[in-house]
Amino acid sequence: MNTWDTDVLVIGGGSTGAGVAWDSALRGLHVTLVDRQDFATGTSGRFHGLLHSGGRYAVRDPGSARECASENRILRQVAADCIEDTGGLFVSTPEDDLEYADRFLAAAQAAGMEIEEVPVGVAVRDEPRLNPKIRRAFRVQDGSIDSWKMISALLRGAQDHGATVLPYHKVVQVIRRGDRVEGAVMEDQRSGEEVLVHAGCVVNAAGAWSGQVAGLAGCEVGVRPGKGVMVAINHRLARAVLNRCHLPSDGDIIVPVRTVSVIGTTDHPVADPDDTECSPAEVHQMIEAGELLVPGFKESRALRVWSGSRPLLPKTETSAGAGDREVSRSHTVLDHGARDGVEGLVTIAGGKFTTLRLMAEDTVDVVVRKLGREAECRTRTEVLPGSESHHFYWIGNRQQEAETDPPDDPLICECELVSQHDLDTVVARRPNWRLDDIRRALRVGMGPCQGGFCAFRVAGMLHQGGRYGRAEANSALREFVQERWKGVKVISWGAQARQTRLDRWIFEGVYDLEHLPE
């Protein structure tokens, strides 16, 4: 069995784990990070993409609001390439209590948010699709953040500082000697081979799955997964993030992300964080809710629906109140030595994407103390790879690149403007790409055609380039088609139903994928 020693073994390759890896590596620790799947496939890759200003939490969870406001400022400095500076609006729709707006403004100011009330006429002028019947509007520092880009930048940064990162490595055993956790055994989900990593400290950064990981070490972590449903709508319906100014509920945020708008979200407790099924009822709830912010929302083309599981912390783990949206969206570092008498294991629980840096800082502060090291956190000022120019991502970036690409570099995905060169660059980073991993890295198959045209191109090119064998290419194609179906099957109406039919004609009619050899 392949075996090595590391200072910190991070379990979980979402935003939390990637943040911990980056922070630890910057402090001079040797890091190994593992995930049972590709990175950012759990909750981090399944949220709406909102970089919180703090407004959403201002009234009910002032601690989280304060954290969001300050972390938002820091991320804009260190991760500009992953962020689009859309700004945000909180608006009182005809159904919202105007008195809440006063409380909201006061709470936002108290949380240190930059906030400004703007006349309704100005808000509607800036956002022509916004409901003209809104009664108040507040401008805040919301943004949109690309989770795949962010996590990829954090991991590349960590790797530049010596970290080892392993996707598709599932923890099958936590090595425990007496009261001490000393490492873990991981199984490569593709080859079946096992690796053993001895670690000075193991960080459980498995988010909604951290209860499962803690269980392997004989500890209990009471994280409750809370499912949130999101729908991506073709086109950007607004320039800024649109929020309803009321106590947070379902379907009250519309986030412009890259080429789409995402509406979110719901909050239902689920037993299993892998339960990502979305029901037609949940989707309709989102679409109906969107009408209140953007009249005519229902007529928009829904591209895809998905859900993710928040890692909610019940009051037994924090001092906050009860009820799902009332549990704090803040985070807690659980030192299992002090808590359960099991040394060498730290769980970072709760939290949210916007505060990933702070979560990592708090976690690694505990880790260095436990390792008996001294090193200051550097992530407040250290700029992530790709963000050196401090230019925010802009929706025209890819068009600009496509126009300056060399003439022999064909586009393989017209929806998301991905060229063959982009594909070659990404697949050179590591072996064994699934088409779905490439989707996360490049957004191939995420546009209106949902892979109808580009999936076969990518599979064919990877086969031709020697990265896929024949059977692998076939199963990659089948798997991708199946995976995409998951996100469109409950939004079969309008233009997307028509697209789904065209895709069916291509996959089954033209290619006859159903009768392709294994």
């Binding site: 024949r470 079969s492 309008g494 004609w505």
Partner: protein, 417 residues
């Protein structure tokens, strides 16, 4: 003034109905919202390929297929009429060299390398029937993104036709002169109509041939001059050459479309593209006119008889709303789910809720009206607008369109009523 028959939709079904009506002496106007459905499809004439097991004799197996699928549109057409429609099509499409036997499916490679059953094919694909095995050199064109010769050849080499005969396949990739960025089928067909480019391609293929007795190429062998391009390439290569269909836009589909449009014009008919039918005017049970949006205004087009061939959800003839409401767009005809399940299934390759949608019709292919009678006595439905089929899985689309379009024209009658 006035038109005997208005056909809505310029796909296979609409064009077949229009041509049959025109041949019977009617003045015909075809209206289509877009450019018609033909450029979407590979121009192979599928009749029945899977039920779900592989079908070898499509005409012969339709009755058995209907036993398990009583709601299928083939229930509307007698076997003899399906056959008559196919025979008529073979004659009509003779200039494109269509060939095949309605009682014998052919097994042609797809762009991924599956062996796919189909019934009639144009001459440019005729050599690609691998029912009896064969040894194929698959030729890829460098820079063409929708055709991956190595994967195709490797899959094809594993295909086993029911005859048990062996299929062998090997791939090569060739560069076309100049190799411009973003090679699309629309551009490739024109390049290959240039003699020096074709000559270069032919020489290149010939030099790389080994023992193969067939050459398979992506379906981009010319547009207007496809016969000449295909013929010349065979001479240059010294082996039979066949085209393998690629995803839309389909160049063989384009050729067939142009051929059918021209044939209709020769019979005095007219095709008007970019004309969306937006409504109708009726007098009692009789349809008097369709309303059409052109140049930003709505005009009425009166006619004596009407054929609805706007297709299903894939072409916009039928739409689905967010609440699950289904609508036939022109006449508001009753839409049936055709026996498909109400809720989506997790498995993609299964019958899904919208897969068999279509207009509900009586035995005479007329939309069913309120009291169970016909919605209008002079409106007939043909092709993918009919409920009950899953043509992409069954490989039945063109057969349904041909048979029901052919029959719709017969039911609508010949000359002016």
């Amino acid at each position: 003034m006035g038109t005997d028959a208005v056909v809505l939709g310029a796909g296979t079904a609409g064009m077949v109905a229009a041509l049959r009506l025109a041949a019977a002496g009617a003045s015909v106007l075809v209206l289509a919202e877009g450019e018609g459905g033909l450029p979407l499809a590979p121009a192979q004439i599928d009749v029945l390929g899977y039920r779900p097991q592989l079908v070898l004799d499509p005409l012969g197996e339709i009755p058995g297929f209907l036993d398990s699928r009583p709601d299928h549109p083939y229930r509307l057409v007698e076997a003899a009429e399906v056959e008559a429609g196919l025979d008529w099509f073979l004659e009509l499409a003779a200039p494109l060299g269509y060939t095949g036997n309605p009682h014998q499916n052919r097994l042609q490679p797809t762009a991924v390398g599956a062996l796919r059953p189909t019934c009639l094919v144009p001459e440019t694909m005729a050599a690609g029937d691998l029912s009896g095995g064969g040894s194929v050199l698959v030729v890829g064109l460098k820079g063409f993104r929708d055709f991956h010769a190595p994967l195709l050849a490797e899959n094809l080499a594993l295909a086993r036709p029911p005859s048990g005969a062996e299929v062998r396949a090997r791939s090569v990739e060739v560069s076309l002169l100049g190799d411009p960025r973003d090679l699309r089928p629309q551009l490739l067909v024109r390049r290959l109509e240039e003699r020096p480019v074709l000559a270069e391609l032919g020489r290149e293929i010939r030099s790389r041939l080994e023992q193969e007795d067939l050459v398979g190429v992506p379906a981009v062998l010319g547009l207007e001059r496809s016969h000449e391009v295909w013929q010349r390439l065979q001479e240059l290569v010294g082996r039979p050459v066949f085209e393998i269909p690629t995803p839309p836009p389909s160049q063989p589909g384009q050729r067939l479309q142009q051929h059918l449009f021209r044939a209709l014009r020769r019979l005095g008919g007219e095709v008007r593209l970019g004309a969306r039918a937006s409504g109708y005017r009726a007098s009692g049970d009789r349809l008097v006119a369709v309303k059409v949006v052109t140049a930003a205004r709505e005009v009425e087009i009166p006619a004596d008889r009407f054929v609805l061939a706007t297709g299903g959800i894939g072409t916009g003839g039928i739409t689905a709303g967010p609440e699950g409401e289904l609508r036939e767009e022109v006449f508001g005809a009753r839409v049936s789910r055709g026996g498909a399940p109400e809720e989506p299934l997790a498995e993609y390759m299964a019958t899904q809720p919208l897969d068999r949608l279509g207009v509900e019709v009586d035995d005479e292919q007329r939309p069913v009206g309120g009291a169970g009678g016909a919605l209008f006595e002079n409106l007939w439905v043909a092709g993918a607008a009919l409920a009950g089929a899953e043509p992409w899985r069954e490989k039945s689309g063109e057969g349904i369109s041909l048979a029901t379009g052919y029959r719709a024209a017969r039911l609508a009658g010949g000359g002016r009523a």
